[in-house]
Amino acid sequence: MATPGNITEPKGITRHLLRLNSWLVFVFFYAPIVILVIFSFSDNRNVGVWGGLTFDWYRDFADNEPIKGALTNSLQIAVVSTLVAVVLGTLAALALERFTFRGRKVFDALLYLPIIIPDVTMAVMMLLFFAQLAQWFEFTKGFGTIVISHIAFNISFVSVVVRARLAGSDERLEEAAMDLYASRWQAFRYVTLPLIMPGILGGALLAFTLSLDDVVITQFVTGPGWDTLPVFVFGLIRKGVTPLINAVSVVMLVASTLLVALSLFIQRARSTD
């Protein structure tokens, strides 16, 4: 969006300092990632010391049953929590952007809370909630408790992304469709849905990534046999670091970077017409 009168670049020394600062920021962002990738190929027990090229740590990763189990857990949890969060979050976004209803403001605020609340606080909330629930009902912590917690924060992120898309689309298109005798459902199915699809997909990928990445909340609500990959890695780091962690980290890094890049790409893409 073009603003009236863009800010012009200052002249003289300031200009060079600004340039330098920006380059340094990008170096700061990406150098640690590059270094981590390099050392994941290092043949040395010490994680930060170069000892010649090796692929052993990736082979260890592929042979390590607990890690593969944790990866499977992570994927299952991410898929289920994303699917539910996308449906609930999209409906919430539609309700907030296109309708008025009683309690709308409270709902709006409630939707923002899971985004801004610190991880630790939410982890404590879920821990005590399930602990209290366990006194009344019989259940073991694991898949269910993790998925429930992940949906709770993912709904908010999905709805924020979908709302941004809805706010940018013209409501009159739906009205026009209905004036042309489309039913409400038809107007939604053939006009609104295609318009907001990039938002829904972007939100879904974001939710999927967040679910895959979460450590703190998951650690508090996981049960026997249900450690996710980040929780497992976090445990390894605290027990004592091995180069295996470098390799696992790089795999996680590549996966989440691809997902986010895809998400950004889809959100930016204009809808087909």
């Binding site: 073009a2 800010i7 919430a92 309700a95 209803f101 610190p118 974001l206 976090f234 989440s256 986010v260």
Partner: protein
């Protein structure tokens, strides 16, 4: 699928009755659509939040469990203890340092970004966003590798002649990890605020003989204040509640509020006290959020 014949509908008339009925119907549909997410968040977010507050007034029993009776304020009084105060003060200081560093680094960056062509801007935005959503644990772990004994940083300082360094497990390492983790939270709102500013205002101030510094102090800074406030809150809150960073990069003397709260649940088994600390953190967070939304902040 049933086929639907676009039948003859009665012509819509904008009578007051029709308008009122229409509005009522829209309200009902809106509520119906919001209901699933609403119910979910009340059950699995608002209710757990309430449980934490309730627990903070409960009593810890001898077995490390919690008795939901004999309500009292003991847990809140415990916050006044010397050790707890130390943790709180340390967390506040480190969170403030982190916020200040992020602000100093991000402001010129966001300003520079706003002076670029749209194509470059968007590209820069993408490269800021990628670390924003990549695995937080992994990004902290990368610093573990860099800062450790005989690690790359130590090698560089040795080479330069300062001698071997070990930054890992110090407060410096924690601040570094926090700045690294939360920098995008500062850049994005700052950029959103600065990008919106009409550049002609800055030029006008210069035309009226303001120095670069004066123009910044009296024009740019006041106009970008919403971004400064939003970014500071978005960095300060998660820094205060940080748990992963001090666990990975910090040592025994760098316990922060987040890790301290976790300890109350996982090792000390003093749940009411942990709940009280969480409540305090939540109140700080809500106050900050209120300021944020008052300032018209909307997006991350």
């Amino acid at each position: 699928m049933r086929t639907r014949i676009a039948g003859v509908q009665p012509p819509r008339q904008a009578t007051p009755e029709f308008e009122a009925a229409n509005l009522r119907q829209r309200k009902r549909r809106g509520l119906l659509m919001a209901l699933p997410a609403y119910t979910y968040l009340v059950t699995f977010f608002a209710l757990p939040l309430l449980v934490v507050v309730v627990y903070s007034f409960a009593t810890r029993n001898r077995f490390g469990g919690t008795d939901l009776s004999g309500w009292n304020l003991d847990s809140y009084q415990q916050i006044g203890n010397e050790l707890v105060r130390q943790v709180l003060v340390r967390s506040l200081i480190l969170a403030l340092i982190t916020t200040a560093l992020c602000l100093v680094i991000s402001y010129p960056f966001a300003y520079f970004m706003s002076t670029r062509k749209p194509v470059v801007r968007n590209l820069m935005l993408v490269f800021v966003m990628i670390p924003f959503w990549t695995n937080f644990l992994v990004r902290n772990y990368a610093w573990y590798v860099i800062l450790g004994t005989d690690g790359p940083l130590s090698r560089i300082t040795e080479f330069v002649g300062i001698g071997a360094t070990r930054v890992l497990f110090t407060q410096t390492a924690v601040v570094l990890g926090l700045v690294y983790g939360f920098l995008p939270f500062m850049i994005l709102p700052l950029y959103a605020a600065i990008e919106r500013i009409d550049g002609r205002l800055l030029e006008a101030s210069r035309d009226l003989y303001a120095s670069g510094l004066q123009s910044f102090r009296h024009v740019l800074l006041p106009l970008s204040m919403p971004g400064v406030v939003a970014g500071s809150i978005l960095v300060f809150i998660p820094s205060l509640g940080a748990y992963v960073t001090p666990e990975v990069l910090g040592g025994a003397k760098t316990t922060l509020l987040g890790s301290y709260i976790v300890t109350q649940f996982l090792s000390s088994r003093n749940m009411p006290f942990g709940a009280a600390l969480s409540t305090v953190l939540m109140v700080i967070m809500l106050t900050a959020a209120l300021v944020y939304f008052r300032r018209g902040g909307r997006t991350l």
